[in-house]
Symmetry: C2
Subunit: 289 residues, 2 copies
């Protein structure tokens, strides 16, 4: 059986897709302290007919938008709305384009959080690699991120699976319209949209949806939008309804070893060692057991 | 209606997804000479139940593999085989893992074509941008490519929609197993696999397939592999069965203008100009009218 003997989709589907043996073993044998439980108060379950999508929010980077989104979820604002746009190699987007639902009290347009508050800079962990768009890339609270060493500003990067807030030409947004990246990283959106988190599990439920045939991938009337059954803040659910989920700490020794395995390829299959890794190809392992 | 007012998926779906007005207008008003008709003798139609996928082959880079693949198509080798693997954020792969079909006479394992013959170097058109993996990136015969200025070697780059040849640990391959990239560019595969072309139209038919739940995204027995109805070399078909298809010439003035529009964003929506563009985010416009 000829198989393209590579497994790189570790980042978002670690629990369902096998990594090459050495990385899978590294993760299996890693110390418990190298993992952190994801904070249920900053985790969303997006339930669609295909299953559950788990999103980790980034309150340090986008506190105002995260607060709005949690208020929206707690008011059940998203329930009964729909995924209205699936654009190939770009984004899946959900919200209320026809303004069917009333925006709950306490949710207002807020100023953009394209970059994090300056105090967040000290949490930035650099990745020693070139980048096309930013002077420096790395990780912030486990999310892919970038930094401008001149201004010391940090921001989240539009890698596959990242979740952001749709907006009009005005830079403000309120979090009522959200999207997830399902294609090659549209890094030109960095510092142009407020990113609020990333999909930890279930991105394939979004990325495999039928593409919309309208402009920019919007579904046209003859196509059925995908209904949103519910969006919940996990801390509001009883423990029995929660999926225990952990993320490998980007500051851990295990993470550094995984990164090295992905940068310098030792597998027999590789004939040419890439010796580099793109920020958006760095695995950010997740486990749910 | 709040819409994330961006349309970047131009590259692979130009005929179905609108670009922002200025790029759409640029393309609509471009001189006919800025486009080239795709050679039907180096174009494949991959027919699956969801529709037709059009693949342009790259004979200058991978002549041996392209010859094999055309021989396989002409022997109807792929007809009745299946898509056996869909790994999220990585690849869709089709072939004959159970060796149901006999490999036709004239198709043999050939030496790798990870890089092009040295004479191909003069067709390389550099893109003035940084890259994570290569010293230099650009285009070769309309395909995304990279170059090592020290060795003067050029090779195709694993951008979204590129098509390559699966292989075992041995570097040889015969073209009986093919894959298309459906996620963030796995550039670590560059110079490790023979790339043979790219999907010009219909990549969304592959990228929206259900993911396989087996290791590396292989379908497990309880999942139905997606049947391959046929793979044909377009020049073997009567004109009435051909889709006229043109690609914007990467050496044209229109292409340079489109590239500049995508590197330096002038739309009102953009608050921060990226001023850079990743090789795999450069639109490679295609039209079928």
């Amino acid at each position: 059986m000829k198989a393209l003997l590579l497994a790189l989709a570790l980042s978002l589907t670690a629990s369902t897709v096998a990594a090459p043996v050495q990385v899978a073993e590294l993760l299996a044998n890693s110390p418990a302290a190298d993992w952190r439980a994801v904070d249920p108060d900053n985790t969303l379950y997006l339930q669609i007919p295909g299953g559950q999508v788990i999103i980790e929010l980034a309150p340090r980077v986008a506190p105002e938008h995260v607060a709005n989104i949690k208020t929206l979820a707690r008011a059940h604002y998203f329930d009964g709305l729909a995924i209205v746009r699936v654009q190939d190699n770009y984004v899946v987007q959900w919200g209320d384009p026809d303004e069917k639902h009333t925006v709950p009290t306490g949710v207002h347009m807020v100023t953009p959080e394209f970059t994090a508050d300056r105090r967040a800079g000290r949490y930035f962990e650099p990745l020693a690699e070139r980048d096309v768009y930013a002077a420096e890339v790395g990780f912030l609270d486990g999310f892919p991120a970038a930094r401008d060493p001149r201004s010391d500003l940090v921001w989240l990067a539009h890698c596959y699976g990242m979740v952001g807030v749709g907006r009009d030409d005005s830079p403000e947004s309120d979090g009522t319209e959200l999207y997830a990246v399902i294609g090659h990283a549209p890094r030109q959106l960095d510092r142009n949209v407020t990113l609020v988190g990333r999909v930890l599990k279930g991105i394939e439920l979004l990325s495999s949806l039928p593409r919309g045939s309208g402009e920019m991938g919007f579904y046209v009337p003859s196509e059925s939008p995908v209904p949103i059954i519910s969006v919940r803040v996990v801390s509001d659910l009883p423990p029995a309804e929660r999926t225990p989920i952990e993320v490998l700490r980007t500051e851990s020794a295990t993470f550094r070893t995984v990164l090295e395995h992905r940068r310098n390829r030792r597998e027999a299959w590789f004939k040419f060692n890439p010796a580099h890794i793109d920020l958006c190809n760095v695995p950010l392992p997740v486990r749910t057991h």
